[in-house]
């Protein structure tokens, strides 16, 4: 079972189960929240075998496609009080839930804005270590590249969830995944890993890559 250490002990964000165990010191408790791979693609990616999601304590993460903030809350648990999550979501309805979740987790900065237009929210961001994208848009790779150009540090990482049917439902998923990886490679990303999200999602892949800004576009 996958769990994250609850940043706000005593509370669930979306009705998920909590598990409390005795802490290192007598009388203290540590609380964990269950991270469901059927509800969170990032969790599915971890259980699907990604070696490294690069989201770790103290990291700054740009999360594109934050939705209601359920997965974001787990990412916030992982980066902890010294890390930051910039959570971008365009839909106002999901944005409302995202803002409410962020009220309790002060390491989450909610941004209700179009991830296609990073210039609109450039005032809100510092340079980040990782971009995680789950935007399910046909031009997802372009969105990620556009954000990386402004906000991702040289040598930083991206983790992208690709939904084949969102890009082209007529092509075989493997071809689509390969095309997306090619697009990333043309924009100075070096792919690292690729896993499918079976059995949690159908025709989904999760790809991680490292950003090497000094490499020329031709290589």
């Amino acid at each position: 079972m996958l769990v994250t250490k609850n940043l706000v002990p005593g509370e669930s964000v979306y009705g998920e189960k909590r598990i409390s165990i005795d802490g290192g010191v007598e009388g203290t408790k540590v609380e964990y929240r269950v991270w469901n791979p059927f509800r969170s693609k990032l969790a599915a990616g971890v259980l699907g075998g990604l070696d490294d999601i690069f989201i770790k304590p103290g990291a700054k993460v740009l999360y594109l496609g934050a939705a209601s903030g359920t997965s974001v809350s787990h990412v916030a648990d992982i980066v902890g009080p010294d890390g930051l999550v910039y959570a971008v979501e365009f839909s106002p309805r999901s944005g409302r839930d995202l803002i409410n979740m962020a009220k309790k987790r002060t390491n989450v900065i909610p941004i209700v804005e179009d991830a296609r237009l990073p210039a609109k929210y450039r005032m809100l961001l510092s340079t980040v270590d990782v971009i995680f994208a789950d935007v399910a848009q046909p031009d997802q790779a372009r969105i990620v590249i556009h954000n990386a150009e402004s906000f991702l540090k040289d040598g930083g990482h991206v983790v992208i969830s690709i939904k084949a049917s969102c890009i082209d439902s007529t092509m075989p998923p493997e071809t689509i995944f390969a095309n997306e990886v090619q697009t990333l490679m043309k924009s100075q990303f070096q792919p690292l890993e690729q896993v499918t999200l079976e059995p949690y999602e159908r025709d989904h892949a999760m790809v991680s890559a490292v950003y090497q800004r000094h490499k020329s576009k031709q290589n």
């Binding site: 900065i109 005032m123 809100l124 510092s126 402004s150 000094h214």
Partner: protein, 170 residues
């Protein structure tokens, strides 16, 4: 090549003077390494002025203007104060993040702007080292400002969403 750079942060506007050697290619390893290294990057840019927002409301107004490519009163004052005093205004080239925002500045103040690759590298460097470069900001002041402004900006988006119906994303 840019002579100055405008950096819009959640805490305020900063104007930097840029000193770059001619003919630097933007995506070489050498340039990327010197941007990462604050001691080297600190020689490429010097802070001319940092003008913090007066209040949270002021910051919200400014981010709304910036995201709509409007030059706010505050920004106009900052740029006029720092860039117009030199008589050779024509030689100034301001590195900006967004070319449309650049044209808005050009239209309202007559300052030439530049959103080329090299300008983006400079702004990336400033963003990377922002907390060290912006004088008067303590360790996590900038993050706190981002947090407050992020909430305010997002909340305003919901408030003024007239149709209130979700635009479904497939």
């Amino acid at each position: 090549m840019a002579t100055h750079a405008l950096f819009e942060s959640a805490s305020g506007y900063a104007v930097f003077e840029v000193k770059l050697a001619d003919g630097i290619a933007s995506k070489t390893q050498a340039l990327q390494e010197s941007i990462k290294d604050l001691s080297k990057f600190g020689k490429m840019v010097t802070l001319m002025s940092f003008s913090p927002f007066k209040s949270a409301a002021d910051a919200l107004e400014n981010i709304n203007d910036v995201s709509e490519n409007v030059v706010s009163e505050h920004l106009r004052n900052v740029l006029e104060l720092n860039l117009s005093k030199s008589s050779k205004k024509s030689s100034i080239k301001l590195a900006v993040h967004d070319s449309q925002f650049g044209s808005a500045i050009k239209a309202s103040l007559g300052i030439s702007c530049d959103a080329s690759d090299l300008s983006q590298e400079i702004l990336r460097g400033i963003r990377l080292h922002a907390t060290k470069l912006l004088k008067g900001l303590q360790g996590d002041d900038l993050n706190k400002a981002q947090l407050g402004l992020g909430h305010a900006y997002s909340r305003a988006k919901l408030k003024f969403n007239v149709n209130r119906i979700d635009n479904m994303i497939i």
